[in-house]
Amino acid sequence: MRAIPLSYVMRNLWVRRVTTILTAGGMALVVFVFATVLMMTEGINETMVATGQADNAMILRKGAGTEINSAISRDQASAIEALPGIATDGEGRKLLSREVVVLNNLPKRDSGDMANVTVRGSSLIGAALRPQIQLTQGRMFRPGTSEIIAGQAVAKGFANVSLGQTLHFAGRDWTVVGIFDAKRSGFDSEIWADVNQVMQAFRRAIYSSMVFKLTSIEALTGIKKAVGEDPRLQLDIKLEQRFYAEQSEQMTKFIRLLGMSLSVIFSVGAIVGAMITMFAAVASRIGEIGTLRALGFRSEAVLMAFLGESLGLSLVGGLFGLGAASLMQSVNISTVNYATFSEIAFRFRLTWDVAMQTMVFSLVMGVLGGFVPAWRAAKLSIIECLRQA
C-alpha cells in the first residue's frame, strides 16, 4: 500500500494556520494542566525521598504515623540506645539522635498569614545523620543555648527568619545563627535547635522520635525483633526513607486524583475541538480525497493521512503545552501537608517519564479527535467525491 506523503499532511496544517493554532492551543492548555500535575507529584516525591537517608532508621510510638502524634519516654529512649546494630562514629559515640518535633505558628513573609513551621529539637549528631543539610550562612547552633538554624525555604517564606534576627516563641527569644540548604528535602521547611532547649521551652518531657544510623541495613531486622520482644517498647521502627515516603503518600494521591480527573474532563473539550477541525478539513477537501483515491491511493492511506493530520495537531499542542509546563520548573511552592499539618516546600519537577506520559496523553487526544473524521473520509466513495468537487 502506498502512503500519502507526510509533506501533504503537514502542509494542510500550515495552510489553515488560524484553525491549527486555535485547535492546538486548546490542546496545549489541557496538556499544560496534565503536565503540571505530574510535575507537582514528582516534586513532592523528590522532596520526601531526599529527606530520608538509606541507612537511617526512625522510631515512633506504635501507630502514631507522624512525628507530631508520637511520644517516646526517656526510659524507652535509653533502652533503644542500648540495642546492638546502631552505628558509632570514630570516637565511639552512637550515631543516634533523640528528637522532639513541635508545630509552631509563625507569620509568613509576604502575607503575614500564620502557618505551621516544624521546629525540630535535635543535636549535632542529628545534623550529622542528615548529610544533605549544609549551612549556607552563619554557623551551627551551640548546644545549651537558644540558638536556631533555619532551612532555606523557611528563611525565604517566613517573616524575620534571617541571619542575626530573633524570633519569639514558646516564651523565649531565639536567635537565628545559621541558614541551611537541605538539598530540596523536607528539612528545608524546618527550624532546628538543641533538643533539650526545645523540650524546656515547650515544656515537654517526652521525645517525638529517634533517628539513628544502622551498622548495616540488615541490622534493622535484629532491632525490630528486640523491640517487638520488649513489652515496654510499644514502638514502630522504619527506614527513614520509607517513613518520609509515607508522609507524602496521601497528598500526592490527592493531587494526582484531582489533577487526573480534571485533565480527563478538560480533554473532552480539546478532543471536541480536534474533531470539529478535522471534520471541516475532510469536508473542504472532498474533491481532493476523490482525486487521491482515483490516483490509486487506497482508503487506508486516506485514513492514515487524516489521522496523521490530527496527530500532527496534537503533537504541536503537546509540545507547546509541555514547553509552557517546563517554565513552571522555576516556581517553588509551599503548602500544608495534611498528614503532618506542617508547611512543606517543593518545586515542579519535569522528568523524562513525565514528558513521555504527557506526549502520549496528547497524542491519544489527537487519535480520539481525529479517528471518526478520518474514518468518514476513508469511507467516501470515489464517484461521490469527484462529483461534489
Binding site: 485547535t23 502524634n69 505558628n105 498569614d113 505551621n116 515547650f202 470539529i276
Partner: protein, 386 residues
C-alpha cells in the same frame, strides 16, 4: 424576529459542528462550576460560624496542649457566658482514607455551647451514661451506614491502643451549613487513659477552649482579655473569633485553592479556543454569502451582528445546559468523595459566573472573524465562489 430566525438557521446549518461545540461548552461550563463549588465548600466552615463563640488555643500552634484549669479562669472574665473544651482524638477508622473529625468533648458544657447540634434527650442521656459512648453526625452515620447501638472500632494515633465506641446518638441540624460529620466522645475517657499512662498533669491538658460570649460586639475585647490573662505564663494563648479561626485553617491550604481557581479559568480558555475555531471556520466558509449580503446593500455592521449573534446563541444554549448539568455533577461528586466536604452546594454566585463565562466565550470567539468579515472586499468575496 427575522434576524433571530436567520441566526437560528445559520447556527444549525452545520449540525454536527454546532453540536460538538456545544458539547465542549457544556463540559467546560459545568467543570468550571464544579471547581468553583469545590472551592466554596472549603470555605463552608467559615460561613457556619457563630459570632458569639471565641476559640482559645495555644499560641504555639493549633492543638498544642493547654492546662484544663484555664477554663475556670476564663469563665470569670466579664462577658463570658460559658466555656467548653475539646481534644482532637485523631485515630484511624479501618483505613486512613476514612477520614472524619473525631473530638473528645465535655458533654455537659459542649452541647449548650453548640445549640445547632440537635440531639434528642433520650439519646443524650444514653450518651452520658456510657463512658465508651459516642455521638455522630447525621451525614457521617449515612456515609458508613451506622445506626444507634453500633460499635465503632478506632485505632489510636494520638491516644495509643485500640478503641471501641458505641454510638448512643445521632445529631442533626436545621441549618444546611452546619457540619454534620463529627464524631464526639467523652473527654473524661481519654483523660483517664492518659492519667494511667503519664500522670495527672498530662491528663488535664486540652487542645482547644471554646468560649461563649454574651455580646458579639465585645469579641475582640474579651479575646484580648483572655490572652492577657495568660501572657508570660506556662502556656500562652491566642484567642480569636470562630470565624477567623476557621479562616486560618482554610488559608493553610491556600496554594491548593489557588491552583484549583487558576485551573477553573484554564478550562474556559480551552473552550474559548475551540469556539473561536468554530466561528472562524464558519466565517471562512460563508465568505461568499457575506459578500453577497454586502453587495445587496447590507452594511458591514449587519454581517458583524450575524456573526456575534450566532456565536452568542451557541454559547447561551451550551452555557445553560452546562449550568443545568452542574447540579447532578455536584451530587455525584459528593457521593464519590463521601463526607470529605461538609457542605456542598452550587451557589447563585457560581451560576452567575458560569453565565458570564459563557457570554464572554461567545463574544471573544466571534470578535476576530467578525472584524475580518466586516472588512472583506465584495469583489474578492464573490470571486471566492468561482
Amino acid at each position: 424576529m427575522f434576524l433571530f430566525k436567520l441566526l437560528l438557521k445559520n447556527a444549525f446549518r452545520h449540525k454536527l459542528r454546532t453540536l460538538l461545540t456545544m458539547v465542549g461548552l457544556v463540559v467546560a461550563i459545568s467543570a468550571f462550576g464544579l471547581l468553583r463549588t469545590i472551592v466554596d465548600a472549603w470555605y463552608a466552615g467559615v460561613d457556619a460560624t457563630s459570632s458569639t463563640r471565641l476559640i482559645t488555643r495555644s499560641a504555639i500552634s493549633v492543638g498544642y496542649p493547654l492546662p484544663l484549669y484555664y477554663a475556670e479562669r476564663i469563665k470569670k472574665i466579664e462577658g463570658v457566658s460559658g466555656v467548653t473544651w475539646v481534644n482532637w482524638f485523631g485515630g484511624i477508622y479501618i483505613d486512613r482514607r476514612n477520614f472524619f473529625a473525631r473530638f473528645a468533648v465535655d458533654a455537659n458544657s459542649y452541647f449548650p455551647m453548640y445549640p445547632e447540634y440537635i440531639v434528642n434527650d433520650e439519646e443524650k442521656t444514653a450518651f452520658m451514661a456510657d463512658r465508651q459512648g459516642a455521638i455522630v453526625g447525621r451525614k457521617l452515620a449515612q456515609r458508613f451506614g451506622w445506626k444507634v447501638g453500633d460499635t465503632i472500632p478506632l485505632s489510636g494515633t494520638i491516644y495509643p491502643g485500640n478503641w471501641n465506641f458505641t454510638i448512643r446518638g445521632i445529631y442533626t441540624s436545621n441549618d444546611a451549613r452546619t457540619d454534620e460529620t463529627l464524631m464526639l466522645m467523652h473527654f473524661g475517657l481519654l483523660s483517664e487513659n492518659v492519667r494511667k499512662r503519664l500522670g495527672t498533669t498530662a491528663a488535664n491538658q486540652v487542645g482547644l477552649f471554646m468560649v461563649g460570649i454574651k455580646d458579639p460586639a465585645r469579641a475582640s475585647a474579651v479575646s484580648q482579655e483572655i490572652d492577657a490573662l495568660f501572657h508570660n505564663s506556662v502556656a500562652e494563648t491566642l484567642t480569636e473569633t470562630e470565624k477567623s479561626f476557621q479562616l486560618g485553617i482554610v488559608s493553610m491550604s491556600q496554594a491548593v485553592l489557588m491552583a484549583i481557581r487558576a485551573v477553573s479559568f484554564v478550562v474556559i480558555l480551552i473552550i474559548m479556543a475551540v469556539m473561536a475555531n468554530t466561528m472562524t471556520m464558519t466565517a471562512r466558509e460563508r465568505l461568499a454569502e457575506y459578500a453577497t449580503l454586502k453587495a445587496l446593500g447590507f452594511s458591514p455592521a449587519f454581517v458583524v451582528k450575524l456573526l456575534f449573534g450566532e456565536s452568542l446563541m451557541i454559547a447561551a444554549i451550551g452555557g445553560m445546559a452546562g449550568i443545568a448539568l452542574t447540579f447532578p455533577l455536584a451530587m455525584g461528586f459528593v457521593q464519590q468523595t463521601g463526607s470529605l466536604f461538609k457542605v456542598f452546594e452550587v451557589s447563585n454566585q457560581t451560576m452567575l459566573y458560569q453565565a458570564l463565562a459563557s457570554l464572554f466565550v461567545g463574544l471573544i470567539a466571534a470578535a476576530w472573524p467578525a472584524w475580518k468579515m466586516s472588512r472583506i472586499d465584495i469583489v474578492q468575496g464573490l470571486r471566492h465562489i468561482a
